[in-house]
Every structure is written in structure tokens, then in C-alpha cells.
């Protein structure tokens, strides 16, 4: 075990897999010499050279389109999109091409790649360095979507994602890139895609969270505990395909569910989670499901702490739902 932050854990996973599998290539803006604007690919250029750690021209459509073509021919590209806000010039390549390649070719062609991209707010990034676009990709059949909240999970999930047979969007919560520290196993291990983690046990209310908001939910749960409410926190880890069994089991136990996410509420992933829970555990529910989310506005600059569903907004939701 080594103490690492999430950036170091992800670098570790990339290095390990690039050593193990010569087909793996990293490409993106500033990923080479400088090691990425968040330093996630630091050291890889020196070790693997410019043919495997590639600084591209400034074109997200170009990066993802090229990665798709590389993948069709047998490479395993791990492109980086510098901020998930800048993924939209590549949205056509991802939605129209990447997600549908296996299906439209009758399974003959698969474009297996992992798109890594920092996600989320709380870093004074304003409208375009803060967004959480996960639901825009979950809605598209054919993509898997992952978002770790701990260094250990980040490494294990990225290794799984690179070895997974399907394209994966790997969202990295940048607010906790360096703030989340923890023991990370050395060497090769995987955290399975599609398996959630119970981050805190409790009997009174289930909280579904991921990424940076996991820590806000944990903080709110500790405060709720002082008032006699024990929350069970499920860290989804994989958003899609989500671990439905763990969620339903927890909700059947607590009878109550609160979903937390940074993205705006309307058509956010919380909407899908609430539907899934309602369909499967309707008779166990003792309170209406609640969403604590970003508001249905663009992501603001100055008022971002008011916008985000931080502990101060999660706590009242836990208490009210538990006492409903």
C-alpha cells in the first residue's frame, strides 16, 4: 500500500497498463511533455515516448475521431479531454459513432477506448470548467460511465475500464483530485465496473452519491448522526450500468432515498435513479425520494457554492426524509 492522491493513483494505473499492454496509447491536449494540465499523465511521455503519449492539435473532435479509428484497428486509446466541458466538439463522434459502432456493425467492429476527463465544480471554474455532463452520455446506449471518489477506486476502476470490452467514459472529479488521499495497493488490481460500494452503513435513509459529492454526503451523514439519523451512503462508482442490486437492497432496508449530484436536476442521473428505485422498491418506500442537486441553471462563477449540493443542503434533506 502507498499513500496517494487521486491524480497519482490514475497516473499509476496508466503507467501500469501501458507497461503491460503495448496497444495502449494516450492522446490529448498537453498530455505529453507537460503531463496534462492537471499533471495526470506526468512522467508517461518520458517513459513511453511521443508515439504512445501524444500531444494533439487543439481539436476534441479530432482527438476522439482519431481514437475511434485507432481502436478499430486494434490499439487501445485512452484519450484525455482536458475538461469535460470541452467534450462537446467531440459529442458527435462519441454519440453518433463511438457508442453505436458495435451495434451498427453487427458486433464486427468495436471501438474500445476509454475517454478520461475531469468533471465537476467547486474550483472557481465558472460555466465551462465545472459542469457534470454524465447524464448526456448515460442516455446514449452503448457507453459505460464511471466516476470514482477515492484514489484506490480510481486506479482499480481505470484498469478495469481499459480492459473492458466496451467504450468507457471515465469522469475524474477534479475538486478532489488532490484532496482525496488514501492507501492504494501497489501493482495490478481491478475494481469491477458495475459494482457500488457502501461508503457508510446506516438504517434510516439511503444516499446515492458519487465523485466529489460523496464527501459532502459523508459530512452531512455525520451531522445527521448527531441528530439520531443514520444514513447509509452508497458510492455508485460506476454510473452506468449502475449497480441496481446494491441500491435496491439498501433502499429496501431504509425505506428512504436521497440522491445527490452536481449536475442540474432536470433529466439528471438522479431522475433515472429515482425511477429505478420506485419501480423496484415501491412498496418499501416510506418517504418520497428526494434529489439534492445543482439547480437548473448554467453553472455560475461567483455563486458556485450556492449552486452546488454541498453538505449544508444535503443535511436538511436527510433529516426531513428520515422523519417524513
Amino acid at each position: 500500500m502507498t499513500q496517494m492522491n487521486m491524480v497519482q493513483a490514475i497516473t499509476d494505473a496508466l503507467r501500469l497498463e501501458m507497461r503491460r499492454d503495448p496497444r495502449v496509447v494516450v492522446l490529448g491536449e498537453d498530455v505529453g511533455k507537460v503531463g496534462g494540465v492537471f499533471r495526470v499523465t506526468q512522467g508517461l511521455y518520458d517513459e513511453f515516448g511521443e508515439d504512445r503519449v501524444i500531444d494533439t492539435p487543439l481539436s476534441e473532435g479530432g482527438i476522439i475521431g482519431a481514437a475511434i479509428g485507432m481502436a478499430l484497428y486494434g490499439l487501445v486509446p485512452v484519450p484525455e479531454i482536458q475538461f469535460s466541458d470541452f467534450i462537446f466538439p467531440a459529442y458527435d463522434q462519441i454519440v453518433s459513432e463511438l457508442a453505436k459502432m458495435r451495434y451498427r456493425s453487427g458486433g464486427e467492429y468495436v471501438s474500445k477506448l476509454v475517454i478520461r476527463t475531469p468533471v465537476g465544480g467547486g474550483i472557481r471554474g465558472g460555466l465551462y470548467h465545472s459542469q457534470s455532463p454524465e447524464s448526456l452520455f448515460i442516455h446514449v446506449s452503448g457507453l459505460k460511465v464511471v466516476c470514482p471518489s477515492t484514489p484506490e477506486d480510481a486506479k482499480g476502476l481505470l484498469l478495469s475500464a481499459i480492459r473492458d470490452p466496451d467504450p468507457v467514459l471515465f469522469f475524474e472529479p477534479k475538486r478532489i483530485y488532490r484532496a482525496s488521499k488514501g492507501d492504494v495497493p501497489e501493482g495490478d488490481y481491478t475494481v469491477p465496473i458495475g459494482k457500488a460500494r457502501i461508503a457508510r452503513e446506516g438504517d434510516d435513509v439511503t444516499v446515492l452519491a458519487w465523485g466529489a459529492m460523496l464527501y459532502e454526503a459523508m459530512a452531512a451523514a455525520e451531522q445527521a448522526s448527531e441528530q439520531g439519523v443514520e444514513a447509509e451512503i452508497v458510492d455508485l462508482r460506476t454510473l452506468w450500468p449502475v449497480d441496481i442490486d446494491t441500491i435496491v437492497e439498501s433502499v429496501k432496508k431504509t425505506g428512504r432515498v436521497v440522491v445527490v449530484h452536481e449536475a442540474p436536476r432536470t433529466c439528471g442521473f438522479g431522475a433515472e435513479l429515482v425511477s429505478l428505485v420506485t419501480e423496484r422498491a415501491f412498496l418499501h418506500l416510506e418517504a418520497p425520494p428526494v434529489r439534492v442537486t445543482g439547480f437548473d441553471t448554467p453553472f455560475p462563477y461567483t455563486l458556485e457554492m450556492d449552486y452546488l449540493p454541498l453538505a449544508h443542503r444535503i443535511l436538511p434533506a436527510l433529516l426531513e426524509t428520515a422523519k417524513f
Binding site: L58, D85, P89, R124, G125, Y301, T302, L303, P316
Partner: protein
């Protein structure tokens, strides 16, 4: 015409190494003096904003140090009715066109003195009063929008033009190619200006494009293009003026590559020592656009050391005073979060506004 002298591959310069100028180009005294004042003020302003960022008083800043001649020269070549679409390093165009400095700085603070109500990151200014539309943060989209505005001007038979700015990195985006193509096909009254400052964060221009120059790309779109010394205020002014005149005369769009250099970091989040050498930076400091203009003004008899020192003191006071006023504005009210999403507040935002009112106060940054 030899290849080196072609508009797309050569380099249009007016200022000479001995501080004199090419006599074929004339730029009035009033324009060069105004340009010098604006460039000096911009340099002081940028330094001040970076200082405030280091002190934690503002969240971010993208300076244009070393590139001042391009936004200032362009601004002075435009008419009031023209529209401007900047990228990261051309916010200052609006200052030259009459936007108040205090409001400009309030945008950097993101407080209630900001016309944008603190919605955007610093260095994303806009102002309806001076026909300037902010870039989003996304590299590229504004180029196409500038062409669209110019097109509307043409369709409405206006004599105004639109200017769209971009960095060298932006020329790799699809929007650049769409913009150039539309500009060529529809002959829109537009001036598209690329500030080739040699770097897109850590990626050098040579890795951005295999073309000999950026200006040469215009040939393929039948958009007249030229390459200009972007650290030569007179050259920038003359080139933009000619391009603007052409656009007004119905000759369509001109694409101008301004060769310059980003002296500072990409932004306050960047450490350029990781990817470029001090020697390279030093060699460009010797071609500093402010110094070159100052030397020219002295040569022309329009400036001396005493006047220059007085100007420096005056502009420093002006900037410091504006910072004081701008910083004093309160933050935007938290209810204002919901304004301007739509013209009217729909039911779901009304509900969410109530929800925010009931919520306990949010923690401050880092808290």
C-alpha cells in the same frame, strides 16, 4: 512576387529596427499616442490582476502581456458600430472602445458591479454598450459567430463589420474551418484575426499545424489573408484598417495572422517553465511591442522620458483607483442565480429559488 514576399508567407512590418517606420504606411500621431497609452495601461492592468490573483482576491486571470499591440491596434482601427468577438487575450478591445475600467475590473472580481452579474470566470468580458460579445471558454465557437454577425450586417446592408479573434490553437478546431469556408462563400464583411503567440498552453504552433504559416490556410478558402508582425502596433493597425475598409467596400473577409509571443504563463493556472526555455522568452522580450512603440514615439519626437514616467504614474493611479472602486461592490445576491436562464422564471426555477432561500448559507470557498 517571391514566396517570401507573399502576403500569406511573408511578414508585414512597419516599424524598423532603428525605430523609424516604413514611409509607405502612415499612421496619424493621435492614433500612435492613443495606442501607446492603451498598451501601457493594459500592461499595468494585467500585472495588477495577476497580483490580485496571487493574493487570492480574484480567482483567475489570462493576461495578454507581450501581445498588446494586437487588441489595441485592432480596436483603434474599428468604428463604433462594428462588433467584436474576442478570445482569451483580447478583452481589452472594449476598454479602447469606451467600456469603463471599473466595470471591466468588476468582471474580474465577479461581483455586482459586473454587467454579467458574476456569472463568468475572469477574462470573459462582454459589453452590449460597446458591441463586444464574450467568448465562452470553449476554443473556437466565436469565430463562426463573428462570421454570422458580419453576414447579418451584409444582409441588412449595413456598413459595419465584425471582428473575430482566435489563438493559433483555435485554428485546429472545426469551427475555424467552417468560419473560413462560410466567410469565403458568403463574402461576409468580417476581419478574422489569429494571434499566433507560438503556444497553446504547452503545445507549440509547430505541433498545432504543419502549414508553413497560419495565414496560408486562407488561400484554400479564397479568403484574402496576410501575416503581420503582431508586435508592431503600426503594422497591426494598418493591416486591420485595410481589411476593415475592404470589408466595408464589399470585398468580404480578410484573415490576418499576427505573429507574436505570450510572454507570461498561459493563465494563472499554468507554469510555462515546464515546456519552454528562458532563452526563448528572453528573445521575444527584446521584441516587446510596448518597448518598440515607445522607441518609435521617441524617434518621432512624440515622447520623452519625463512624459513617459508621468504617463506611467498616471495610469498606475488610474488602475489602482479603479481596482479600489471595483472591489468594493458586494457579491451578487444568491437569488440572482436564477435570473437570465430564461426571460421569465418558469415554475421549476421558481421552486428552486424558494428552495435556495430556505437553505442554510453556503460555505465559502475552501471552507
Amino acid at each position: 512576387m517571391s514566396v517570401e514576399n507573399s502576403r500569406e508567407l511573408g511578414l508585414f512590418r512597419v516599424l524598423r529596427d532603428d525605430h523609424s517606420q516604413d514611409p509607405a504606411v502612415s499612421v496619424p500621431d493621435a492614433v500612435v499616442l492613443r495606442a501607446y497609452r492603451e498598451m501601457r495601461r493594459l500592461r499595468i492592468l494585467d500585472a495588477k490582476m495577476i497580483l490580485l490573483q496571487r493574493q487570492g482576491r480574484v480567482g483567475f486571470y489570462g493576461a495578454c502581456t507581450g501581445q498588446e499591440a494586437v487588441p489595441i491596434g485592432t480596436a483603434l482601427a474599428l468604428e463604433a458600430d462594428d462588433w467584436v468577438y474576442p478570445a482569451l487575450r483580447e478583452q481589452s478591445v472594449m476598454l479602447v472602445r469606451g467600456f469603463p475600467l471599473t466595470q471591466f475590473i468588476a468582471q474580474v472580481f465577479g461581483n455586482s458591479g459586473d454587467v454579467q452579474k458574476g456569472r463568468q470566470m475572469p477574462s470573459h468580458h462582454s459589453g452590449r454598450s460597446v458591441n463586444q460579445v464574450s467568448w465562452s471558454s470553449n476554443i473556437g465557437p466565436q469565430i463562426m459567430q463573428a462570421v454570422g454577425t458580419a453576414w447579418a450586417m451584409k444582409l441588412q446592408k449595413k456598413s459595419s463589420i465584425a471582428v473575430g479573434f482566435m489563438g493559433d490553437g483555435a485554428t485546429s478546431q472545426g469551427d475555424f474551418h467552417s468560419a473560413m469556408n462560410f466567410a469565403g462563400v458568403f463574402k461576409t464583411p468580417c476581419v478574422l484575426i489569429c494571434q499566433n503567440n507560438h503556444w497553446s498552453i504547452s503545445v507549440p504552433t509547430a505541433k498545432q499545424t504543419a502549414s508553413a504559416t497560419i495565414a496560408i490556410k486562407g488561400l484554400a478558402y479564397a479568403v484574402p489573408s496576410c501575416r503581420v508582425d503582431g508586435n508592431d502596433l503600426l503594422a497591426v493597425y494598418a493591416a486591420v484598417k485595410e481589411a476593415a475598409d475592404d470589408a466595408r467596400a464589399g470585398k468580404g473577409t480578410t484573415f490576418i495572422e499576427c505573429l507574436t509571443y505570450r510572454i507570461g504563463a498561459h493563465s494563472t493556472s499554468d507554469d510555462p517553465s515546464r515546456y519552454r526555455t528562458d532563452e526563448e522568452v528572453e528573445s521575444w522580450k527584446r521584441k516587446d511591442p510596448v518597448d518598440r512603440l515607445r522607441n518609435h514615439l521617441v524617434h518621432r519626437g512624440l515622447l520623452d522620458d519625463a512624459k513617459d514616467a508621468a504617463l506611467e504614474a498616471e495610469l498606475t493611479d488610474e488602475v489602482n483607483e479603479a481596482v479600489k472602486v471595483a472591489e468594493a461592490f458586494p457579491a451578487p445576491s444568491r437569488e440572482s442565480l436564477f435570473d437570465d436562464v430564461y426571460q421569465e422564471l418558469p415554475w421549476f426555477l421558481q421552486e428552486q429559488k424558494e428552495e435556495l432561500r430556505r437553505a442554510p448559507p453556503a460555505p465559502s470557498h475552501g471552507g
